[in-house]
Symmetry: C5
Subunit: 318 residues, 5 copies
Amino acid sequence: MNTNLNDKITDIVKSIIKNYESDSSKTKRNLQHILMSGNLAGTGKLVILPVDQGFEHGPDRSFSINPDAYDPHYHYQLAIDAGMSAYAAPLGMLESGIESFSTRENHIHHTPIIPLILKCNSANSLSKVPNQAITGSVKDAVRLNCSGVGFTIYPGSENIYEMMEEAREIFEEAKEHGLVCVLWSYPRGSMSKEGETAINVVSYAAHMAALCGAHIIKVKLPTKFLEPDSTKDVFIKNNIPIDTLTDRVKHIIKSAFNGRRIVVFSGGAAKNDGELMEEIKAIKNGGGFGSIIGRNSFQRPKEKALKLLKEIMDIYKK
Amino acid sequence: MNTNLNDKITDIVKSIIKNYESDSSKTKRNLQHILMSGNLAGTGKLVILPVDQGFEHGPDRSFSINPDAYDPHYHYQLAIDAGMSAYAAPLGMLESGIESFSTRENHIHHTPIIPLILKCNSANSLSKVPNQAITGSVKDAVRLNCSGVGFTIYPGSENIYEMMEEAREIFEEAKEHGLVCVLWSYPRGSMSKEGETAINVVSYAAHMAALCGAHIIKVKLPTKFLEPDSTKDVFIKNNIPIDTLTDRVKHIIKSAFNGRRIVVFSGGAAKNDGELMEEIKAIKNGGGFGSIIGRNSFQRPKEKALKLLKEIMDIYKK
Amino acid sequence: MNTNLNDKITDIVKSIIKNYESDSSKTKRNLQHILMSGNLAGTGKLVILPVDQGFEHGPDRSFSINPDAYDPHYHYQLAIDAGMSAYAAPLGMLESGIESFSTRENHIHHTPIIPLILKCNSANSLSKVPNQAITGSVKDAVRLNCSGVGFTIYPGSENIYEMMEEAREIFEEAKEHGLVCVLWSYPRGSMSKEGETAINVVSYAAHMAALCGAHIIKVKLPTKFLEPDSTKDVFIKNNIPIDTLTDRVKHIIKSAFNGRRIVVFSGGAAKNDGELMEEIKAIKNGGGFGSIIGRNSFQRPKEKALKLLKEIMDIYKK
Amino acid sequence: MNTNLNDKITDIVKSIIKNYESDSSKTKRNLQHILMSGNLAGTGKLVILPVDQGFEHGPDRSFSINPDAYDPHYHYQLAIDAGMSAYAAPLGMLESGIESFSTRENHIHHTPIIPLILKCNSANSLSKVPNQAITGSVKDAVRLNCSGVGFTIYPGSENIYEMMEEAREIFEEAKEHGLVCVLWSYPRGSMSKEGETAINVVSYAAHMAALCGAHIIKVKLPTKFLEPDSTKDVFIKNNIPIDTLTDRVKHIIKSAFNGRRIVVFSGGAAKNDGELMEEIKAIKNGGGFGSIIGRNSFQRPKEKALKLLKEIMDIYKK
Amino acid sequence: MNTNLNDKITDIVKSIIKNYESDSSKTKRNLQHILMSGNLAGTGKLVILPVDQGFEHGPDRSFSINPDAYDPHYHYQLAIDAGMSAYAAPLGMLESGIESFSTRENHIHHTPIIPLILKCNSANSLSKVPNQAITGSVKDAVRLNCSGVGFTIYPGSENIYEMMEEAREIFEEAKEHGLVCVLWSYPRGSMSKEGETAINVVSYAAHMAALCGAHIIKVKLPTKFLEPDSTKDVFIKNNIPIDTLTDRVKHIIKSAFNGRRIVVFSGGAAKNDGELMEEIKAIKNGGGFGSIIGRNSFQRPKEKALKLLKEIMDIYKK
């Protein structure tokens, strides 16, 4: 949970941490550890490697295109080599490399080389139930010396209230243990398929995550589509700018407590790298805090992945 | 949890507190703290700022008309500047300003500048399930030095028994910690839409809240409509006066243990200010204890809000 | 929990208490306290005032005919003035008068002037779900210095097994704290409306309550109707006498462990006082232990209520 | 929990106890207490009086044919006078006689005159839900100085997995307290009515009970009917002998860990005494451990019941 | 939990254990105990005897073909005589022989002669509900000196999320007590019958088990059928070799963390021994860690079973 002490905590990082007014010093140190790790250390930006696709889409859709990725160690090493800010994965993934990728500072504690986030619930495509299974606990996260826990909610799903209550319980316990709480807020269920990434829906989802007490919020990049629900009209009436992706990122940041909560974005299905770079620039220009980059990281040869990730981070660093 | 010691506890406040016969001295102190805070301190009246609309209607329907309100600090400051009796909001909203809006009296405890009420459950319009998610706990309320907790029940909903049991558990724990228990009692489900604010239905809802052990009861202002259910006939047979709003407020106060429980009212969707003032007068004349004013507070420029709130409080002070 | 020490425990009360063979001395003292309180002290009979109608039918159907009854203090005072054996009500009702109607014997404990029974679950007519919400706990009962707890089950309802399990948990905890367990056993669901008070159904309901470990059983006065279910035939074949109300009361007492458990009766909707007195005589002659009299107590002017209750108690005293 | 120390533990009892290899010495003492009690003490056979029919069929179908049986004390005395090995009943039944039918050996503990088994769950015929309510706990059993707990499961019911999990929890706690675990395994739901006592179904039910960790298994005497399910064919193919009742009892004993678990049988609806004696002989000849005899015990005058039970025990003693 | 100290821990076993990076030394010792027991001790391969068929298919379909197998001791002895690596069975089965098949090393602890795995949940064919009942606990496993616990999940079932959460809770507690966690991952529900053993489905199921934190994963041998779901296409597009059974075993091992988790296979319904040996060779050649052999072990005369198991182990030893 210690950051590299040689690094100086930058002012931008200090100002971000200051927004977490209710948190214990241990939680703040863990958040700072993430913000002071990897290539983006000290910039106030972060790029996280998530590897829960084995649960979500199965191992073969996730890894057969780059078979080295079947090995959990691959992802630890990729995250480290690419200078990611943190590595997020389900229980088994983290367990299987925790010794190989920790420094042993004294006889008792292992310190992971990269900040770890235990993804505590997961869905899988064999099941059609719009829910997730809890597969990791705060106890596990503590045992593995993680810096944080991750949880997914589905705003709009028939199970949303139950999922929010599960998140609440895990986050309460996580905060008691000084862990950073990361909330994946993915609308589905009550809206159209297109509506799942509509700006009015993602804005709602981001705000809900902030209200739930998340420290870091993960949403999908919103489109300019407006789902025709009760929240659509005000976008038109009040002229909320949503035409460019930069506009929409700005709006999400506003919805997430006006910049007081870290929001990171994912793009979803892999697209060409040019488009991806445009997205990264929009996130940066819109005041977004960074990206969660899964499939674009591990679904290509490692060298190419490192190159891509370097380009992404270079944009964020500028 | 301390009130301004320079203020003298007034007789009216003492007489209100005396009605809470079973409560611990800590709970009574917290209730007194609310009644001795803000512009209405000592009058026996109270005006509370609730900001759970971000959950209920989404951030954009709630805040885009007055974009400053996207920032959680805006609401803390508004409540303080307007001299509200308390500020009620979900977990994330309170967490994000708890340090900025607390005095640091000694090295251990922060004291919020305004009494805080943690709203412990919330619904959202992305979900159509007639229920709410628990998003805050008594532990959270204690950690944030709140004066009370808030909870919503939906009398008439298919989930009402479960919601009442959740309220019971939270209130039991809250009372053990000396926190004030505020119950939002909002009928929906088994009655017509118009019936949700019918006088016979709201009267029932207020009484249920009192029976559940709430210290402060929040209902919507009732109309003179009588929902055609088993409780309608006695209104006619026993000549219960319900023609004027003042009559109806009086009746609600009677239903809530004949004045022994604090009842505050909300009006719902914003209307013109003239109508609003008439409502406030009716609450005052009917013996109501005050108002919860959300959207009329933060869905207009701050200056206008402060002016409106001052006018409201002036009515209550008279 | 102390009875009036000036009263001598009568033989009839001693013999009743002796039937509670498994109970702690504290539970026995609480039961004895009820049997040695009020006008029927020492007679082995009891009349209890229940005021949960505000939950069940709403405040207006319950109280508007006698508006003084909107005030919770009214019921405490009525129970005391009428010399009732105990007063049973939901949490809020008891809380709101616990100080006014307790003697303060020392600096720590309040002793209620009349034995209190906390009604721990309740239904309401806004909901059509055949269940009840738990609204009070054993912890609450202990905090309020109650002598007992009350619970309702609906034999025949789709939720009966869940309700019995809830009763079991509350009664187990209540017995650990020396509290008297009162079970309202009200058939509904699987039988006809008329069958809810059929002698074969009420007999079954009373026996179930006894098997559940209740100390005091509350059933409705049974009619001579026989619900056509699997229990009907034996009434005919074995010539069980059920023609008069006295016969039927005798039979219920037999079903409730052959007189080893206290059974009290309610009549339901108010009827004329003459009929009521005939019912009381039948309860007395059939060996019933007394009555729970709610609506006939508080739905008339106090003076008339006191007169009626005196007449009832005079019958039981004879 | 002590057996009569004047009795010598017989070899047959020792050999039965030896089969319970994982149990604590306290559990073994309680099992031994049952096997060394009553007229069959030391024979390795047992006859248990169960009185849960008041729950299952109601008091009147159970007791009106022999009205003395409405009194819970009747059953205690009957079990003692008849020399039964144990008496099994729901909470209220045991509570109501626990003092009258215990010796007081020292100032602290009561010892029941006959080993008691608390029946911890029960169904009732007012409900059509294929489940049972938990109405007693291990805590209750310990408080009443019982030797064991009883539980019913319905293999084939839609609720079977939940019932098995409830049994597991109660048995785990019971074993920690040294109590004997008795499992009533009554198939219903997925099979035909006739199939509920089919030899292939009862064999499955007995084996499931053994796998669940029961010490004593209670099943109904199987018929030679074969329910046409996936288990039927092997009876024919492998020539399992099932023609005589003795054959079928032998088979059940084999299914219950090849004689390593005590299995007792019930016959169901009362039939003539001659048939009953033939059944007892078949149980004895087939290596069954005894009977649970409810309705044939208490649904006739006591003298006749004692005579019948003596005849039954005489068969087992031979 | 001690292995035979005369055996030298082999390098292959050391290298396997090393993959369990997050586990306590006690868990590693238990895993090592399994890998150093029986005829395959030290080879890095294992053959486990599972006897939960009595639950799954009933005693008669399981045992009547070889009636000695009705006796639980038969299986203990068979596992020992055959030199199995461990014996896995439900609670009752393990309890009934725990003393006979343990050495008593000192006055306090029994050590089972063969490593035991408590199967903690089970289904049965009398129920059609796609779920299992929890019938054993970690507490039970500790009490019986087991080396591990076993659990089944049904990926694709409507109850999969609940089953995964139950597995999670049991595995968390098991790891705290140093027990090895074995997960049976059996797809059913959302896919075709043929799809339950399709290579793309079994691969998914094996990976899910690894992600859930299992130490040992049990799947059925996959066929080359590809279930037409979202995971099918990549098998074709990325040329994943699945034509031979060896190919498919290799693929499963890859899916289970690229060889970092022990995977054992079962074949399902008994077939001729020649085919079985071909399967074993394919498991061995594909890098599988061994087999779970139930029905092929105990559904034939013991001598024949020992011969078959020896042949199987000889293949693994080569």
